[in-house]
């Protein structure tokens, strides 16, 4: 029956067969969901992606495709990759702060003279290793993107 068409078949203006690959994941009450996914990936590509997945993983895959499509529509330049870059930056900042705090702890310990000479040597080695810490992983990702149009968080 035409009224039982899934959102995908309604959008594509076609009959919805009984084995329609989209029908389980794009119910007719949410047409926008399929529209977003179709706009970014295309119905044909989504169908191919779902066909190679086992049944029990398809629902999750569709959810995530919908999320990524939404991100791409909201940010047509970076999509959900922007979040990844922000997280890399966050990790970099956290590691720097952690290294700094650990240096402070090690220096405080050594000033207090805790534990004897061997302990002091270990603490100074820890101070040195923290001072040598130069996390540079975010730079690897940043260089993949054009220098002429750096995203604000690259500066």
């Amino acid at each position: 029956m035409i009224s039982d068409r899934c959102a995908a078949c309604k959008y594509l203006r076609r009959r919805c067969p009984s084995d329609c690959i989209f029908s389980s994941y794009f119910p007719p009450n949410n047409p926008q969901r399929f529209a977003s996914v179709h706009r970014i990936y295309g119905a044909s590509n989504v169908s191919k992606m779902l066909q190679v997945l086992p049944d029990h993983l398809r629902a999750k895959a569709v959810e995530i495709l919908c999320y990524e499509a939404k991100c791409r529509i909201q940010d047509s330049v970076y999509g959900c990759v922007k979040t990844i870059f922000q997280l890399h930056q966050e990790i970099h900042n956290a590691k720097c702060q952690l290294a700094k705090t650990r240096v402070e702890i090690a220096l405080t310990n050594s000033r207090r003279g805790g534990g004897g000479q061997e302990n002091q040597v270990n603490q100074m080695q820890e101070v040195q290793s923290n001072l040598n810490f130069f996390p540079d992983q975010t730079h690897v990702e940043a260089t993949q993107f054009g220098s002429s149009s750096k995203a604000p968080w690259f500066s």
């Binding site: 992606m49 990524e68 791409r72 047509s76 970076y78 990844i84 956290a94 990702e141 002429s148 995203a151």
Partner: protein
């Protein structure tokens, strides 16, 4: 690059003449056919063309790079794609925040030990408040910036131990799953 010499990777794959103003040519050179192949496989040439046409020229390079990144992630992990990487990185951030909280608590202990007999007077309370506010601000600056990431619905990560997890991220050069 659309000038009559060799066609760009896109036109080569699509088996068409690479026109002078080919929208793909600046971003998909002929010496890297794989780049366009995976973008085409995930997004489709037509969709990529429309996306690029809607963007100003100075943003198209970054858009292509992010599309390539997403397409790579999707090829490596057909279920979770980029969201898999986001989840992994969020876990890293949480772990680092925990370690930082422990380290900062240790620092605070040292400071309290240095002045163990001081009873909280009004002045000292004021100083402590300033100190804690400063530390809270540092902590918040880490936490607040994560508030955007909390907008990723948690149901995406609830059943994360999927068979498609075993992947390597060549861009990051380390395994995403430990």
């Amino acid at each position: 690059m659309g000038s009559g010499s060799s066609p760009c990777a896109s036109c080569r794959l699509l088996r068409r003449r690479c026109a002078k103003g080919c929208i793909f040519a600046p971003y998909f050179p002929s010496d890297d056919p794989h780049k366009f192949a995976i973008v085409h496989k995930v997004f489709g040439a037509s969709n990529v063309s429309k996306m690029l046409q809607e963007l100003p020229i100075h943003q198209r390079g970054d858009a292509v790079s992010s599309l390539v990144y997403e397409a790579n992630a999707r090829m490596r992990d057909p279920v979770y794609g980029c969201v898999g990487a986001i989840s992994f990185l969020q876990n890293q951030v949480s772990e680092l925040q925990m370690q930082l909280a422990v380290a900062q608590a240790e620092t605070l202990c040292f400071q309290m030990q240095q002045d163990p007999v001081a009873l909280p007077t009004q002045i000292d309370q004021h100083q402590h408040q300033h100190h804690h506010q400063h530390q809270d601000h540092d902590q918040k600056s880490l936490l607040l910036s994560n508030s955007d990431f909390n907008s990723i619905p948690h149901q995406y990560f609830s059943s994360f131990a999927s068979p498609s997890n075993v992947i390597q991220d060549p861009l990051k050069r380390e395994s995403l799953w430990t």
